[in-house]
Symmetry: C2
Subunit: 234 residues, 2 copies
């Protein structure tokens, strides 16, 4: 899996959180793309950005949560790059099926983002514009990853963060596994219709059956695991 992390931060060098995330990156499969470094004049290159996006399976927006949204340059990137005919609309849908994630760095404790908290709204509410964007582009929206008040985290919490971040940017999700399976199934089924020999058609049907058996087995395991975790907690 290939992941593109689109980072927007106007003063990246001053951010301990962003430096830590950068140092936590896995060695392979991940590209770090800091917009303010690439475009210091704010002139986003639509063609280059669109071509780049097509090469990745997972697209992540990573930024400090300024006024409940991204810094301005990432918004500019959205408006320039995600055009009708590319991201949506007739002949669009070029990002459909890719995964979309958010890595949000908060200056305020995450607990404040709830009814009655100082910020008053949940992060799920405040990130609706990104959910709507993913929906319009046909992308699979991942639960956001939140880095809350990084400078106050102790070493143990930072190690947890490192692992969580590595997984967020590189680990297959249940959604990506299912997407891959479905992709194989569709490919195999279209093979079956393409005038294969009877022997090969049987092989294809067999492969599809194996995929479906595996999926059932995985779902069973996930269910059992959830029960065990429930028992431990209860």
């Amino acid at each position: 899996m290939q992941t593109l992390i689109i980072v927007s931060h106007p003063t990246l060098a001053d951010s301990n959180a962003q430096r830590f995330l950068w140092e936590s990156l896995p060695a392979e499969g991940v590209t770090w793309h800091h917009l303010e470094s690439v475009y210091p004049d704010g002139q986003v290159d639509r063609e280059a950005e669109q071509q780049q996006l097509l090469q990745y399976d997972r697209i992540i927006f990573q930024f400090p949560f300024y006024w409940y949204s991204s810094p301005a340059l990432l918004k500019q990137w959205q408006d320039v790059v995600l055009t009708e005919g590319f991201a949506y609309g007739p002949d669009g849908g070029r990002l459909a099926g890719k995964e979309f994630g958010l890595v949000l760095a908060l200056g305020v404790n995450e607990r404040e983002y709830q009814a009655g908290g100082r910020e008053g709204f949940t992060l799920s509410e405040l990130t609706r514009p990104y959910q709507a964007m993913a929906k319009k582009c046909g992308m699979v929206y991942m639960p956001a990853m939140v880095v809350s008040q990084f400078d106050y985290l102790n070493d143990s919490k930072r190690k947890e963060l490192l692992v969580a971040y590595q997984q967020y940017v590189s680990k297959d999700t249940e959604a990506s596994l299912k997407t891959t399976e479905n992709w194989f199934k569709i490919q195999l089924q279209s093979l079956g219709k393409a005038g294969l020999s009877e022997e090969n058609q049987q092989l294809v049907e067999h492969l599809i059956a194996v995929l479906e058996d595996n999926r059932e087995h995985l779902d069973d395991l996930a269910w059992t695991l959830a029960q065990m975790e429930g028992n431990q907690l209860g």
Copy 2:
């Protein structure tokens, strides 16, 4: 009442909707502040913007709804101007009590902004970041004004839009009336404590009583009006 309309649109001259709104402005009490004209280089002047904000009772953000948010320059404006110590935090709260409005120009029919519609989320959901901003600044959030697919509106609909816009930018709301009354009451009450002569204290108490009577009378009228509208509709 003085209203500041902060307009953000990267290609304002090409927008029929924005031209129409500009031509609809009342002659007095409203300032049109187009960010891309004032700051073609994107360098927002914090000090000038903050001083300007203080002179107005109602602040409006007006923009085309690009990717469920504003164009980038308005976001830049928020991040530069609405600083801790001015808009919020210790010694902040300088915008508290002002009214905050949104004028959103949509390229898509407003009906699509609902569960099951093509956009999938309501405008109230998608504008949560502005609601949270108003809350943090202690501003009174007005229901948003929506201009949906302006180019398709006939003359009659455009006339309705003109009136609705003039009212949105200049008419006292129930909230602004109550705010004004409360402001007077607090002023009058603090006068009463400031060692006035007994005669003047009686005058002040009389004025407060008149204000409260007026408010009760207004509330009664509003209730009666709502009943009548209900009967007409039913």
